[in-house]
Every structure is written in C-alpha cells, then in structure tokens.
C-alpha cells in the first residue's frame, strides 16, 4: 500500500467520518424534515401560547349596587375589556353560583360589588368589593387583581386612561431600535433551539446509536484516533445543523417580518454565531453522552438539557430578571450568549464588534468542551 503523509491521511480519515455520517443522515429524510419543521412549529406554538401580555381572562361580575360609583367601576372594567382586552366580562346575579364556577374553572375570578358600595365610597366608610380568585393560576390571578385594583382606583378620577397632570412627572418612551413584536423576539431563541435539536440527531447521537447497535466496534478497530472520531462527527453535525438552522432563521424572519440584514458584516456575523453555537452544543453533548450506550439516555438527558439551557437563555425572558443563582448559571450557558448575539444582529443591526464578547465566550466554551469531549471519549469497548 502506498504511503500517504500524516496530514493527508488525517484529512482522508476525517472526510470519511464526515461522509459516512452525512450519507446516513440524508438517507433519513423524515429526520431532516422534522429537524426543520419542529423549530418552526415551536415558533408558532410559543408565539401563540404566551402572547406576551395576558388576554381574555374570564371575569364574572355580580353587581348588587345600582349607585354611580358601582357603575363607574363596571364601566372601567368594560374599558379594559374593550382596550387591552386583558379580561372578558360576564355578568350574573347569583354569588354562590359564580364562586362555584370559579372553583370549577369556568372563570378565573368572580368580582362581587355589594349593595352599599357606592354609599360607602361617598361616605368614605371603608368601601369594599369582593374578589374571589382562582389562585392556583398565579399569573392570571395576579393580572386580574391588578386590573380590578386599577379599575377601583380609577373611580375617583372618573377615567381609566391616564390623564396627564401638569404637576406630575411622566416618563416618555423613546425606542432606540425599530419596533420588535413578541413573535419576532422569539426568532433568535427558535434558531438556538433548532441548533440544539440538531445536536440530538447528529454528532454524539450517532456514536450512541452505533454503540447500541454494536457497529461502533467496526471503526474502533481501524486506525481512526479519538480526535478523528469526535472531531469528524462534530463537523458532520455542524454541516447538517448549520444548514437546518440557517433555513429555520430565514423562514422565521420571513414569517415574522424581520428585515434581512443588508450588510455583509452582519450576515457573516450571523453565520459565525450560528456555527460557534453549533460547535459549543455539539461538543457539550459529546462530553455528556460520549460514553452513553443506550439511546434512551439521549432522550432523557436531552429533554432535561433543552429546558435548562433554553429557559435561562433570554430567549423568552430577560436573563437580567432571573434570580441571582440562575443568573450565575446563565453566565456559563452558551445558549444565553447565542441568543444575546442573535438579538443584537437581528434587531439592533449590530456588526461584529458589538457581539465580540458573545463570540469570545462561545469560542472559549467550544475549545474547552471539544478538548474535554476528545479526552473523555473511550477508544476501547
């Protein structure tokens, strides 16, 4: 057999590992389709599940008072229903039936305005309304309490709308960047999720499957080194995952109306961030699953990792508002840096310099994890 030089031989081996993996992947079109469709479905489901602010919470009102203040309170609630639509108002006469309906989940809360409410407001004699809340749903009950408090407080001013008083200090919003709606704000997170999902069907997943099927033995017997095997699989995973996530990004931008960056710098930076994020997550999963021998382990661990990496990433909730211990975790979470960089590039028209810190972290994380992945990989059975 002719001798090749060591570098050419390494390239030939790496290309063979990548080629093998990609050929096997593309012969599984259902997985390719799902890898693309699932993040897009996530975008649609998440966009419609959270909706940013809460809306249409069912509130039943039992008004026993025909006085002006009670009418004002009711009108104020109607104004909120017609405006931000936080609540949907229902009316009834029977208090007990209304409270029972809150218990059985028909309404989120029941507001009872007693017959002496207006009189007590006028007399300033501790006026009260009763609010029965389904407090098992903390977010809804908190929001309804706020709405009712607002409506009650507005009785005195006569309006729900904030009236500008000359003696009060007002804050005027000044948006630094173009308007970003809730749907659009989810796109960076969905791209990062597409990358994460890619790591579950490529890279280390194939090692686990080969081990489970007993095929791993065939290439452990060859001169492939640990670095050839780990590096090759990470690179083939990179090729597949990057292609899928760029497609998800493009479709996500089209769906939500994010304008495409026109300068080459931003486009190149987007590509760099996506590639680095993929390499970080591929290497991280290799560290965690490099010795696993059952696909069930991939299933269990990946569901867990998806949640703990995604939610403290800033994709749906700002990392600044996280409790300090979780904020510390976000400091080492590669998805947090990826989301931050993608948001800057997509919404702030930032260039490479703005996201240098994010890129720097991702590079360090990638190098550390890749070295750990190669070291921890076992070359024997």
């Amino acid at each position: 057999m002719k001798k090749m030089n060591a570098f050419s031989e390494t390239l030939l081996r790496l290309s063979a590992v990548i080629d093998r993996d990609i050929r096997k992947f593309i012969r599984n079109p259902i997985v390719i389709g799902m890898s693309f469709l699932m993040p897009i479905i996530y975008l649609v489901i998440m966009g419609n599940s959270f909706q940013g602010k809460l809306q249409s919470l069912p509130l039943i009102v039992i008004n026993h008072d025909s006085g002006r203040q009670a009418r004002d309170l009711f009108d104020n609630l109607r104004a909120i229903e017609a405006g931000p639509a936080t609540i949907t108002i229902f009316q009834a006469e029977d208090e007990q039936a209304a409270v029972a309906d809150v218990r059985n989940g028909k309404y989120k809360a029941a507001l009872i305005i007693p017959s002496d409410f207006s009189k007590r407001v006028v007399l300033k004699s501790r006026p009260e309304v009763g609010l029965f809340l389904d407090n098992t749903d903390a977010i809804s009950s908190g929001t309804i309490t706020g709405v009712v408090n607002g409506a009650v407080a507005a009785i005195h001013s006569g309006h729900v709308a904030i009236r500008e008083a000359s003696d009060q200090i007002h804050v005027r919003d000044a948006d630094l960047y173009r308007f970003v709606d809730y749907f659009q704000s989810l796109v960076p997170g969905v791209v990062v999720m597409a990358i994460f999902l890619g790591t579950l069907t490529t890279g280390v997943f194939n090692v686990v499957m080969d081990r489970f099927l007993g095929i791993e033995e065939s290439y452990l017997l060859t001169p492939l080194t640990k670095a050839n095997i780990v590096g090759g699989l990470i690179l083939s995973g990179l090729a597949i995952t990057t292609s899928v996530s760029i497609l998800v990004l493009a479709v996500g931008m089209l769906m939500t109306g994010i304008p495409f960056p026109t300068n080459i710098g931003s486009l190149a930076s987007l590509l760099v961030v996506i590639i680095l994020t993929t390499l970080c997550l591929q290497s991280l999963m290799f560290v965690l699953l490099g010795r696993a021998n059952h696909p069930r382990l991939v299933g269990v661990l990946s569901g867990f990792m998806n949640v703990i990496l995604f939610f403290p990433s800033g994709a749906v909730y700002p990392t600044a508002s996280l409790p300090s211990w979780l904020k510390s975790f976000a400091m080492v979470n590669p998805e947090a840096y990826a989301v931050d960089a993608l948001k800057a590039l997509l919404f702030k028209n930032a260039g490479l310099t703005t996201v240098l810190a994010d890129i720097g972290f991702l590079m360090v994380f990638m190098v550390v994890m890749m070295m750990a992945a190669i070291m921890l990989f076992k070359r024997t059975l």
């Binding site: 057999m1 002719k2 090749m4 050419s8 031989e9 030939l12 081996r13 290309s15 063979a16 590992v17 080629d19 093998r20 050929r23 096997k24 012969r27 599984n28 081990r211 489970f212 007993g214 095929i215 033995e217 065939s218 290439y219 452990l220 017997l221 060859t222 001169p223 492939l224 080194t225 021998n293 059952h294 069930r296 382990l297 070359r379 024997t380 059975l381």
Partner: protein
C-alpha cells in the same frame, strides 16, 4: 521460530471483569501464514481474547504482541496490521456495499486510485459486484457477512481476526464462507486467527486448534493430533433405569468400547461404529439386568471432543452482566 515470523505472541494473558475471569492466563504463539483456531463453547472467553488481541479490550495482566507490536503500548500500530471480522454484523445498513468498503478504506488511509482497484477486486472475490450499489439493509445475512470479509481486507492486513465468522449463517452460506477464507489464504498467505464453536469449521480451515474452557486453554494441536487423542468416531448414548456401578464396569470392559462417560443415568460410550455397536451394547446391558429407557447414536461432535479434554459437557455461557442503571439495554461484556 524466529521473532519476525510470529504473527501473534500471547504470554499469560488474563482478563477479569470484577470477580469473573473471562480469559485466564493464556499463552500461545501463531506463526506467520498459519490459520489458527480458538475453539470453545459460548462464554469460554473467545470474544474477550480476540478483543484484547485487536485492542478493543485492555488486558488485566499478561502481554500480547501482534506482528511484533504490543496491543497496549502500540495499539495504533497493531490496528494498522490487522483486519477484523467481528462476531456481530457491523457493516452500516444505511450505506451501500461499495460505500462501506470505500469509507473503511479511507479510515485506513488507502489512496483513492488504489482503493478503487482494491474494492473492485474484493467485490468480485466475494461475489457482490452486481449488488455493490445497493444499501446493505437489502442484503441477506450471508451477503452482509461476505461484504464484511471484503471490508476487513480493503487495506491488505497482515493478520485477519475472525470472531465466529460463520455464526448465524445457514449451512450453504457457511461453506461459501469457508471457500472464501481458503481463497484468501491461498492468494495472500494472510495469517488468520479465528474463534469458533464449530468443530467442523475448525477442522475444515485450521492448521492448529486451541481448545479452551472457562477462559483457560486446555489443549493445543493440529486437528489430526487432537482427533487422534479422541478414541472412537461415534458416540452411543444409552439411558438405563437404575444404573449400577457394576453395570458401568461391565460395559467399560466390553472389547469394542473405546471410552465411557457417565452422566446421571446415561452412558456415553465412544465406539468406532455406532451402527454395529448399538445392538451389541443393548444386548449386553439387558443380559446383565439393565432396563434400557432410551438409546441414540451420533457422530463425534465438538461436545464429545470437549468432554474428552475437559471431562464435562459444554455449558451455556455465564449470564451476561447487565447494567443496573440502564436495564437490559446493553450487556456490559
């Protein structure tokens, strides 16, 4: 035997999994060009031994050299010298036959032109040229096995390791496999180390055979030498109700009885001709008051050879250790 001519040198090789000793202080040498058979029942440690020799499992103690390279300290060099056909089918189902060979050739750094010629030659040799473009998932078990033989030769290894190469194949495919291995031997004088639990296979292919049991090597010799040590050619098994020591001594003394083993109430009698000895044996037992429950004849098998050398039947392999953490997923050895 000069140092250069040893394909395999094994000295005191041992592998323990916890308390269980899978390979127990085994020593032997295989000269270049020999076909060496490692024969034993399931669970005897054949696969563990071959895995140690092919760098997949690290020995607990002892040494093994393949083509002069130590399996522990020069594992990368060992892997360049060997081709392996594992016991389980290990070709990629999602790749075509050609792709399996091509990718494997690249793992070994075989240059493109040489690889192409070699793959064509090997596919012709194993009779898969016309099916080379099909996915391996569409192959029969025999075809897949033949492809794996071709794959193991793509880099022209000096030593070929075969772990139960005909296991799971039908008798016809098994014979095709033997022919193929003989052809490889003739064309390239490749050293072959094969494990098997088929006496017939070891007999058909091997220059020398090592018989092993419970990790220990019991005897080593050529098939002819080993056969000479086993008296008779047939085994007559007769179960006698209320077998007595007197009856055993009586049967043992019969002139045509070459050897006798007793298992519970069954006499296992080695004879030269089962067909003529059976009636005579039955008459003799009845005449001395024995009540025969059943009788059968079979040709000597591995089991009989094994019984001769170990004094006991081939047992099922030890229960495999299964992870407590992941259930029945993957046996740990």
């Amino acid at each position: 035997m000069s140092a250069e001519s040893k394909a395999v040198e094994v000295t005191g090789l041992t592998k323990k999994f916890g308390e269980f000793t899978a390979v127990d202080n085994v020593s032997f040498e295989v000269p270049d060009g020999e076909i060496f058979g490692y024969l034993g029942p399931n669970g005897a440690g054949k696969t563990t031994l071959i895995r140690m020799l092919t760098t997949l499992v690290i020995p607990t103690s002892g040494r093994a050299k393949i083509a002069g390279f130590d399996v522990e300290t020069n594992s990368a060099d060992v892997r360049r010298q060997i081709g392996v056909i594992s016991q389980a089918m290990t070709s990629d189902l999602d790749l075509t036959g050609y792709e399996n060979l091509d990718i494997y050739g690249r793992f070994y750094g075989v240059p493109a032109r040489e690889r192409k010629e070699r793959i064509k030659y090997l596919l012709d040799m194993v009779g898969l040229s016309s099916r080379a473009g099909e996915l391996v998932a569409a192959y029969s078990g025999g075809m897949r096995r033949r492809l794996e033989v071709a794959r193991s030769l793509v880099h022209k290894p000096k030593i070929l390791f075969l772990d139960e190469p005909s296991s799971g194949l039908d008798p016809q495919s098994r014979r095709v496999m033997w022919e193929l291995l003989r052809q490889i031997r003739e064309e390239s004088s490749t050293t072959m180390f094969l494990t098997t639990h088929y006496m017939e296979e070891a007999d058909a292919l091997c220059n020398r055979i090592a018989i092993i049991d419970a990790g220990k090597m019991i005897v080593l010799g050529s098939p002819t030498q080993l056969k000479k040590e086993i008296p008779g050619s047939d085994i007559v098994s007769i179960t006698v109700d209320g077998l007595s020591e007197g009856l055993v001594s009586f049967v043992k003394a019969l002139p045509f009885v070459r050897n006798l083993l007793v298992e519970d109430e069954t006499l296992r009698v080695s004879v030269d001709s089962g067909a003529t000895s059976l009636p005579a044996l039955m008459d003799a037992i009845r005449s001395s008051g024995g009540r025969i429950v059943s009788a059968s004849i079979h040709e000597q098998s591995l089991e009989d050879v094994f019984i001769h050398f170990t004094g006991k039947s081939i047992r099922e392999g030890e229960a495999k250790k299964v992870s407590l953490f992941i259930g029945a997923g993957v046996p740990q050895r």
